[in-house]
Each structure stands twice: as C-alpha cells, then as structure tokens.
C-alpha cells in the first residue's frame, strides 16, 4: 500500500480508486454503467479495446466484485453477458464524485 502523501492536499488524488482509475477500465465501467448488461463484443466495439486487453481488465474487475458474468444459452449458443454489481455501481459513482472534487479543487 502506498505511503500517505506528505502534502495532505494531494491525498484525495492518492485516494482515488486505482482499480477504476485506469483509462481502459474506466471506459468499461462507463459503458456498463449506462446499460443493463452487455456482451464482450459490444464492449469491445464501444471501448475500442482489443479482445485480449478487454479480457484482462474484465478479469480484474470481476475479481474486485465490480462486475458479474452471467452465462446463459440462447438455444445452443452460449451467451455471456456482463453487468455491474451493486458494489461496482456504487464504486463508480464514488469515483466520479471524488474525481470531480479533485479536479474542481485544482488551481487554474
């Protein structure tokens, strides 16, 4: 775990959720936040991430409990849908709020 910032004014930046504070994961969460659920291909198209990149970030988000994977079958075809958990939605909302505050408090 990182040491607390010596300059306390920078602590809010240090406190940002590092799991979300990564551009690719932030994009994934932003898309999942505004839809009920989506599959890999949709997320890939919306974010522009490669399959491997997306898969890697999704695994981290799933491990953290921010997203859940719903595996179903449509007839004989597998259909995997991804959605934010309640924890993930709350974490994203908190992150947005924190980031906004951090940016609003930065000098011009």
């Amino acid at each position: 775990m990182a040491e607390p910032a010596e300059n306390q004014a920078l602590q809010p930046i240090a406190n940002l959720d590092r799991l979300i504070h990564e551009p690719a994961r932030l994009m994934i969460l932003a898309v999942l936040y505004v839809v009920e659920s989506a599959d890999f291909t949709f997320l890939m198209r919306q974010t522009g991430l490669t399959w491997g990149n997306l898969s890697s970030h999704m695994s981290k988000l799933e491990e953290a409990g921010y997203i859940e994977v719903e595996k179903k079958f449509k007839g004989k075809r597998p259909n995997t849908m991804l959605r934010l958990t309640d924890e993930g939605r709350a974490a994203f909302r908190d992150y947005r709020h924190s980031l906004k505050q951090v940016l609003d408090n930065l000098p011009d």
Binding site: L26, A30, V31, Y33, V34, V35, E36, S37, A38, D39, F40, T41, F42, L43, M44, R45, Q46, W51, G52, L54, S55, M58, S59, E62, V69, K71, P78, N79, T80, M81, L82, R96, L99, K100, L103
Partner: protein
C-alpha cells in the same frame, strides 16, 4: 485536460449503435414497397382475398429480413446489449407512437372503405381528406419517432412516406393521370437505397471480430 465523463453521451452512442446497420431503413423501405405492390395489384382488378394473400406475406417478409439481419449480421458484429432505463423509456415512447399511428391508419382505412358505399359528395370529401390525414400522420409519427428514438434518418423517411398518397392525388388532379403504385415505389426505392448504403458501410466498418468466445477469455 478535459476529464469529465459525459455519461449521457456514452449512453446515447450505445443507443444509436442500434441504428447503424441500416436494417431499420431497409425494413421501412420494404414496407412502403409492399404498399406499392398492393396498390399495383389493386389496379389489376384482382380480388381482395388475393390482394391480402400477397400483401400480408410481403409484410411478413419485411419483418423476417429485419429479424434475420439483426440476428445473423448485426449482433455478431456489434454484440448484444440490454439497454438501461433511458433506452427503455425511449422504446416505451416509440411504442405509444406506433400504437397511435396504427389507430389513425386503421381509422383512415375504415373511413376510406365506408366512403365507397356513400353518395358521391361524401366520397369526394374523403378523397381530399385521406391524403391530408395520411401525410400528417406520417410526418407526426416519423418526426416524433426520430426525436424520441434519436434516429435522425426517420425525418427523411417520414417525408418520403408522407409524400406517397398526396403526390399521387395531386398529380391525378393536375394531369388527370394517377401515379398509383409509382407514388409508393419511388420513395420506397429511395429509402432502400439509403438503407443499402448504410448497411454496406456498416459491413465495411464492422467486420466480424476475430476473437475467442467471451467465456473462454474470462476463464483464462
């Protein structure tokens, strides 16, 4: 540095991806084409039963083209999404509009049917009223549909749909020659052309992704 995440825009772009494939345009073009075919058939003096026996399957074919296109072309390229509350609200508004349009269309049809059994005076009033109500219905429904669904091409399609009956009527009044089926088929072909261009652009811009299944990817 601009960091603000515009979630409204994220949601809007996710929603608009539904209309990027041109399939709804093709569907609307096929519907209008079916009306044109029906108009041509009715000029051929065939029975109403035969007319419906041809018209209904054409309508069903339009729906099959839309469904099959979405299922086998769009979804493999764009993926699947269950829309959030805003998208669901848009869909609800669109359903209300569609219901309104169907009710007006049905009323128009019944009035037209009744006019043929009424004295000439009433029939000629209907002759002027029908094109006006048709045009207004199409403009209002397509216009509101374009606005609520954020599907801008519907404005164009609405104008093309709206013109069909009034243009046929006006040309008939001015020249004595009714356009008949042509009044429907020409705008239908324009809509199909637009849909076709959008569809081919979609195929070019969104090739099938070369990737493992999502389940395999997440399981490592």
């Amino acid at each position: 540095m601009t960091v603000e995440i515009n979630l409204k825009e994220v949601e809007r772009r996710a929603w608009r991806s539904f209309f990027q494939d041109g399939l709804w345009d093709i569907y609307l073009g096929l519907l209008l084409l079916a009306m044109g075919v029906s108009a041509w058939l009715s000029d051929q003096d065939i029975s109403e039963v035969t007319l419906f026996a041809i018209y209904i399957p054409l309508l069903l074919l339009s729906m099959v083209v839309l469904w099959a296109g979405k299922r086998f072309i769009t979804v493999p390229r764009m993926g699947r999404v269950k829309i959030g509350p805003k998208g669901k609200a848009r869909k609800r508004k669109a359903r209300v509009l569609l219901f309104f349009s169907v009710v007006v269309g049905l009323a128009l049809f019944l009035v037209a049917l009744a006019a043929y059994n009424h004295p000439a005076g009433w029939a000629s009033l209907i002759e002027y009223l029908l094109p006006t109500v048709w045009a207004l219905n199409m403009l209002i429904v397509f216009g509101l549909g374009a606005y609520f669904l954020e599907f801008n091409r519907l404005y164009l399609h609405g104008v093309l749909y709206a013109l069909a009956v009034p243009v046929d009527f006006l040309v008939g009044e001015l020249t004595g020659v009714r356009l008949g089926a042509i009044a429907f088929i020409v705008p239908a072909l324009v809509i199909l052309l637009v849909g076709g261009i959008v569809f081919f652009r979609f195929l070019r811009d969104y090739p099938l992704p070369k990737s493992p299944a999502a389940g395999e990817a997440l399981n490592g």
